[in-house]
């Protein structure tokens, strides 16, 4: 019999009607907590927005921005944003003044902002498509590539989380259940080895040798990201395995795999979910690093990391190459981090 929950509406209940009974399930509680948490809802909205613009990038590219992410235009390489065409030389002379005589000519900012505002107005009024964030070293539109980049970067994030969660859960369950046997020893040895070598070196070398596509790169990154979760799960299993319900299950002859799946795994579900979410954010940042170094996703595919690679030689002359992908990364990982934070609180029944 489920417990009765007193609600404010109770006085209005008539005698002959059945008393409403609220069954508060765990997941119901989690959902209610999440909906009430404004920051988490904002994060969820932002994440959905990022996913939608990534999925809709072909439509956005052709209809809203008017550019193709791979079509190069060698006549307009490293061009500043179209709306800043007039303001950019002034900005450059401002930075020149800072460099040369050590005190900046701040008075120029009035003109810079005036021209930029006029440029933005022009972009809206005349029908021709604007490079809102400038062009890269092959004359491709940076904003369009940023929108398209989400397809690769977010996909890699999800794939990495999938790979490392699967590995982490599997290894954690194995080493927790077969603790003090050679299986546990082997897994511990692997974790220890991977924990004491600089993994970025290995990742760079491997991804250079195999030159994988997005999925392959995700498997590579994921293969080196499961150790933390595996340790967490192993520790949790240690604390769960002596609980009464596990002993009871064992006493009535439940096979060990069933105890694992039915009784132990639900207890670590919240840990898995939260680390999966954080893992996506970590993977996006890792992919950006590898692609920036030129060993991850290569052009013509656009990813937030390889968009910055073109800036290696001329980042001061074309800062939009650095800023634009950075903003995309920031929005995506910020939403994921906040979501993970909210989930962690919502999933914790002791709070």
């Amino acid at each position: 019999m489920a417990e009765r929950v007193l609600t404010l509406s109770q006085p209005q209940i008539k005698r002959n009607e059945p008393v409403p009974v609220a069954v508060q399930s765990y997941w119901g509680m989690v959902r209610r907590r999440l909906v009430r948490d404004k920051i988490t809802m904002f994060a969820l909205g932002l994440l959905i927005f990022m996913v939608v613009i990534s999925l809709a990038s072909p439509w956005i590219g052709t209809h809203l921005l008017g550019f193709d992410p791979t079509s190069t235009d060698l006549l307009s390489r490293n061009q500043p944003p179209t709306w800043a065409t007039d303001a950019w030389p002034l900005f450059q002379s401002f930075t020149q003044s800072c460099q040369n005589n050590a005190h900046c000519d701040w008075a120029q900012w009035g003109h810079i902002l005036q021209r930029a505002a006029a440029g933005i107005g022009q972009c809206f009024t005349n029908g021709a498509p604007c490079h809102w964030m400038g062009t890269d070293d092959a004359g491709r539109d940076v904003l369009t590539r940023g929108v398209y980049g989400g397809r690769i970067s977010l996909r890699i994030g999800v794939w990495v989380a999938g790979v490392s969660m699967t590995l982490g859960v599997l290894m954690g369950l194995l080493s927790g259940y077969y603790a003090t046997t050679f299986i546990d020893d082997i897994i511990n040895a692997i974790i220890m080895t991977l924990g004491s070598i600089p993994l970025l070196f290995l990742l760079i070398i491997l991804s250079r040798i195999f030159q994988p596509g997005p999925e392959g790169l995700a498997i590579l990154i994921g293969a080196f990201g499961w150790m933390g979760l595996s340790r967490l799960i192993r520790g949790q299993i240690f604390s769960v395995r002596e609980r009464e319900y596990v002993i009871a299950a064992r006493a009535i002859g439940t096979p060990s795999w069933r105890i694992m799946v039915r009784h132990v795994l639900p207890n670590v579900a919240s840990i898995i979910i939260v680390s999966a979410v954080f893992n996506i954010a970590g993977a996006i940042i890792a992919e950006a690093g590898l692609s920036y170094l030129g060993v991850g996703i290569g052009p013509p595919l656009a990813s937030w990391g390889n968009m910055m690679q073109g800036s290696l030689g001329n980042f001061t002359d074309a800062p939009w190459l650095v800023i634009t992908p950075g903003i995309f990364i920031f929005l995506a990982t910020l939403s994921i981090y906040l979501l993970g934070d909210g989930l962690r609180d919502a999933l914790d029944p002791t709070l």
Binding site: S196, I197, I209, A288
Partner: protein
């Protein structure tokens, strides 16, 4: 304790051996073999390939190649099955093996000794790594203490927000942005490199070091302040802290003598992880800041498909990581008298 140090040392040796195996396996996995870079050369002939294979000892079986690479080939039997052609014609040209710190010769840098190339770059990497380690301790410890003491109030929340924001973008991107603004537009810091050419003075070097060290310390101080906050909160709830307060000690004394001393102990173990983080991150930061260290050499080696150099860089950086963790563990066992060495290993 001596026994613990010996066991831990043996374990590290084993790990180093495993690292050489991983490095060698990666090398063997390369599609098209180590001499793949020749494929793009239209003028190569079969004779060239064979000559290079003999020169670099690639004409032998894989286990023999590993033996020669890891343990040296000058003691192997003097037959073509065991020794490379170079060794047979000129005994002095034999590779001495990793065990004697000889990693062979580079492909790209035309026969230069690999270890020489790496040793040349090592001081730069160490300078950056240790100064950012120093900065992350200097920034991380006060932040951790403040956020633990003001838990839930505005200093804690402010530190938390900054931490989350810094975590949501790649640290090297922050470096790039600061380089553009501070270096490119305001001319406050140099645009990369370790020193102005022709000027090797201390102040010039420091000027070049400030931004790279600060930016690559971000991950470190976030990590340190988190560890310290957690440990401080743990210690603050202990009975002896309440006792110390109850017997009338000044709050400052309690924090410094009782809380901080005990909270800093587990903190030492964090050092190893952060060292590894800084070492790993050196690749990215050295590219961003044009820092002439091992990380940059790695990217150069990768772009020129210089397999001997790649393997050596991987193995040496692994050795550094393993030795760093070993030193931290030894330091910990010396600092903290409560560690029971017999149970800790295993």
């Amino acid at each position: 304790m001596t026994r613990y140090i010996i066991r831990r040392g043996l374990q590290s040796l084993l790990l180093m051996w495993v690292a050489t195996i991983i490095g060698f396996t990666v090398y063997q996995l390369a599609p098209g073999g180590p001499l793949q870079f020749l494929d793009s050369d239209p003028k190569k002939t079969q004779a060239d390939v064979e000559r290079l294979q003999r020169l670099y000892g690639l004409d032998r079986s894989v286990p023999v190649q590993y033996m020669a690479w890891a343990f040296g080939e000058d003691w192997l039997p003097a037959t073509p099955v065991w020794r490379s052609g170079r060794c047979l014609s000129d005994p002095d040209a034999c590779v001495h093996g990793i065990i004697r710190l000889d990693f062979g010769r580079s492909f790209h840098y035309q026969g230069q000794s690999v270890i020489g190339l790496i040793v040349e770059r090592m001081p730069a990497t160490f300078l950056l790594a240790f100064s950012s380690l120093f900065l992350s301790v200097v920034i991380g410890i006060p932040l951790g203490i403040i956020s633990a003491l003001y838990r839930g109030r505005w200093p804690d929340n402010a530190i938390r927000i900054v931490t989350v924001l810094l975590n949501t973008v790649p640290e090297w991107w922050i470096g790039l942005l600061l380089l553009i603004i501070l270096g490119g537009y305001f001319g406050l810091v140099p645009l990369g490199g370790m020193q102005t050419i022709g000027d090797g003075s201390f102040w010039d070097r420091l000027h070049h070091l400030v931004l790279p060290a600060t930016v690559s310390a971000i991950g470190g101080w976030i990590g340190f302040s988190r560890i310290l906050r957690f440990e401080m909160l743990d210690v603050l709830s202990q009975d002896y802290v309440r006792t110390a307060h109850a017997k009338g000690l000044a709050p400052k004394t309690v924090i410094i003598r009782h809380v901080l001393r005990n909270a800093l102990m587990p903190f030492v173990t964090g050092l190893g992880g952060i060292f590894l983080l800084v070492l790993s991150g050196s690749v990215l930061f050295e590219i961003v800041f044009a820092w002439p260290g091992m990380g940059r050499l790695t990217i150069d080696a990768i772009n020129s498909r210089d397999y001997p150099l790649m393997m050596a860089l991987f193995v040496i950086s692994s050795f550094l990581g393993i030795l760093g963790l070993l030193m931290v563990d030894i330091l910990y066992s010396v600092v903290d008298p409560r560690v029971s060495y017999e149970t800790k290993v295993g």
